[in-house]
């Protein structure tokens, strides 16, 4: 497999240095831009496999850059942001970011997010049978097995699970999940989502209270993880 190219758009030289060392040692090719304008230009000249975008850029807000990129750029974009308002993150995710990481972030976490974003984008059609520990989810036959035993899911539970699975590794906002599973009329009924997430965990997780497959992204949404870190 050729080296995937990653473009970092961040105004902080220290963060760029850190990312460069981390990513190059994981075998990626790294390019860097210190402003939004420069980043867009570099992405347009030679589209990278993945972009890491800082939300707090000096020239233009990261949100604007994200929107401009998403007009034509289809590969994954991971947002970096200093711990701030959740609404900021939700906005970025709803505007097409694939994932986000808060500064300060853990290196292992960053690598896992990059891997899963790249995996998703290389594998557009998606695997139809997903194995995850002792769990087997078959999206064609619409069956879920745990330790080879069939697990009965209700229609809504299955729809929710399939949306999560198809976006494996990606943070899905409450808004996105409610719209996809229940429809646009339900986007404010977050309690539905919590009920069904709790039910899915009860059926799928080893310990529903310490979930390893359906992870909560506090205040933002949920993430389905196949290979827990």
């Amino acid at each position: 497999m050729s080296k995937a190219e990653i473009l970092i758009i961040d105004d902080e030289a220290q963060i760029r240095k850190l990312l460069e060392i981390t990513l190059e040692s994981s075998g990626y090719t790294v390019r860097q831009a210190s402003t939004g304008k420069e980043g867009i230009l570099m992405a347009a000249n030679h589209p990278p496999e993945l972009i890491i975008l800082d939300l707090g850029l000096p020239d233009e807000s990261g949100h604007t850059i994200l929107q401009k990129l998403r007009e034509w750029y289809t590969n994954p974009i991971i947002i970096l942001s200093v711990q701030s308002d959740e609404t900021d993150i939700i906005r970025a995710l709803d505007n097409g970011a694939n994932d986000y990481l808060l500064k300060p972030f853990r290196t292992g976490e960053l690598q896992a997010r990059i891997r899963s974003s790249l995996r998703n984008s290389f594998n557009e059609d998606g695997n139809q049978v997903i194995n995850c520990g002792d769990l087997e989810i078959n999206l064609v036959a619409r069956t879920v097995k745990k330790s080879s035993e069939n697990i009965r899911l209700t229609a809504t539970e299955y729809t929710l699970l399939s949306v999560l699975v198809k976006n494996e590794g990606k943070v899905l906002t409450h808004y996105f999940l409610l719209r996809e599973v229940w429809g646009p009329g339900y986007i404010n009924q977050s309690q539905y989502l919590r009920v069904f997430i709790a039910q899915l965990r009860k059926k799928l997780e080893k310990d529903p209270n310490r979930p390893e497959i359906i992870i909560t992204e506090s205040g933002v949404g949920y993430r389905f993880v196949i290979n827990p870190v």
Partner: protein, 360 residues
């Protein structure tokens, strides 16, 4: 106290009170004018103006002085019911009356202003004291991890002969220091959020089980030695409240218990619903708090005497601030007989039993 009370009375009302009081006193004096010498009346009116001066602003006082002088002249100085003054003595008296009324008015006003300035100075001194406490605890709490990072990196950069295990150990220390710094910065940011006064809870349905387990998982990531147990019914309803703020409250209380109890101690967390009130109880079996200091632990920058564990003294004051911003209360007590501390957090919130909803 009385002055403060009167200061709140609006200007027009002060004029009105001045007029009424002077007319009332003058009226009584007029009724008694058969028994009172008009020179005595001057003294009575002067006293009235002085009383007004104690409480009111300078302009209403001057107005009262002028008004009382005119009334005295018109009704009391012979010839009556004219502003004419009969004798030179009376003219002199009237002039002196006016001067004395003015001077007493101006003097009392000045005294009150000096008092006000003194009060402001005292407040400022208190603020500076608080600020210094903050700076002291901050510089300690921030500089300790910073020193660790600088020292350890210096070692790694300059000391070529450093052994591999030492290298590993220094790196771990850098990592620990960075996390400690991050924690303190979080606390400071939260504190300034509280101080700004613009803190509005963002309410959404919240699964308390999920939240508590999540907080405990984050705390356990720090490789703690205490055992944390959680006792919450899966049937607990959802509560509509600000999840981020409640998370912060629980994190700080549990983390405080971790920092201030011995390694073998236990920390128990329970949550129940009492008619639209969420009650969370966090108990430990450590030594508890010294009784004399119980009421101060939520104060800003308060650290227990002889506290060896670090801290800016912000953690628990944020607990109190956020709990109150959520409309709730937090109570701290030592557990009778057993020892150990018990934090009880109660937050009123709408509940939803949708959890029992079986499927569409």
């Amino acid at each position: 106290m009385k002055e403060l009370l009167f200061n709140k009375i609006s200007k027009p009302l002060q004029y009105l009170f001045s007029i009424l009081l002077i007319c009332l006193v003058a009226g009584i004096c007029f009724i008694l004018s058969d028994f009172l010498n008009y020179q005595v009346v001057a003294f009575v009116l002067l006293v009235t103006v002085s009383i007004i001066a104690v409480s009111f602003d300078i302009l209403p006082v001057l107005f009262a002085a002028l008004l009382s002088a005119l009334i005295w002249d018109y009704f009391f100085i012979p010839p009556h019911f004219t502003l004419q003054v009969g004798t030179t003595e009376d003219s002199l008296l009237l002039m002196m009356y006016f001067v004395v009324a003015l001077v007493s008015g101006v003097l009392t006003y000045k005294i009150r202003r000096i008092e006000k300035i003194a009060l402001q100075k005292e407040e400022k001194a208190n603020t500076i004291k608080l600020y210094n406490t903050l700076l002291n605890s901050l510089s300690h709490e921030l500089r300790t991890p910073i020193s660790t990072i600088i020292g350890a990196t210096d070692n790694l950069l300059l000391n070529k002969s450093i052994s591999a295990p030492n290298k590993q150990e220094l790196t771990i220390e850098i990592s620990k220091a960075a996390f400690r710094l991050n924690r303190q910065v979080d606390n400071l940011l939260n504190m300034s959020r509280l101080n700004s006064g613009f803190i509005e809870p963002k309410k959404d349905w919240c699964d308390i089980n999920e939240l508590v387990y999540d907080v405990v998982r984050r705390i356990e990531e720090n490789k703690i030695e205490q055992a944390i147990s959680i006792n919450i019914s899966p049937e607990l309803p959802f509560f509509k409240l600000d999840k981020g703020m409640l998370e912060q409250v629980l994190y700080n209380v549990i983390n405080n218990a971790v920092l201030h109890t011995e390694a073998h101690c236990k920390i128990d967390i329970a949550a129940v619903c009492h008619v639209d009130v969420l009650q969370i109880i966090i108990e430990d079996n450590g030594k508890g708090f010294p009784n004399a200091e119980l009421e101060h632990v939520f104060d800003k920058f308060y650290r227990l005497n002889n506290s060896k564990a670090g801290g800016t003294g912000l953690g628990l004051s944020i607990v109190k601030g956020f709990t109150e911003a959520l409309g709730g209360i937090v109570i701290l007590e030592n557990i009778p007989r057993m020892g150990g501390a018990r934090f009880t957090i109660e937050i009123p919130a709408a509940t939803s039993y949708l959890k029992n909803l079986k499927n569409e």
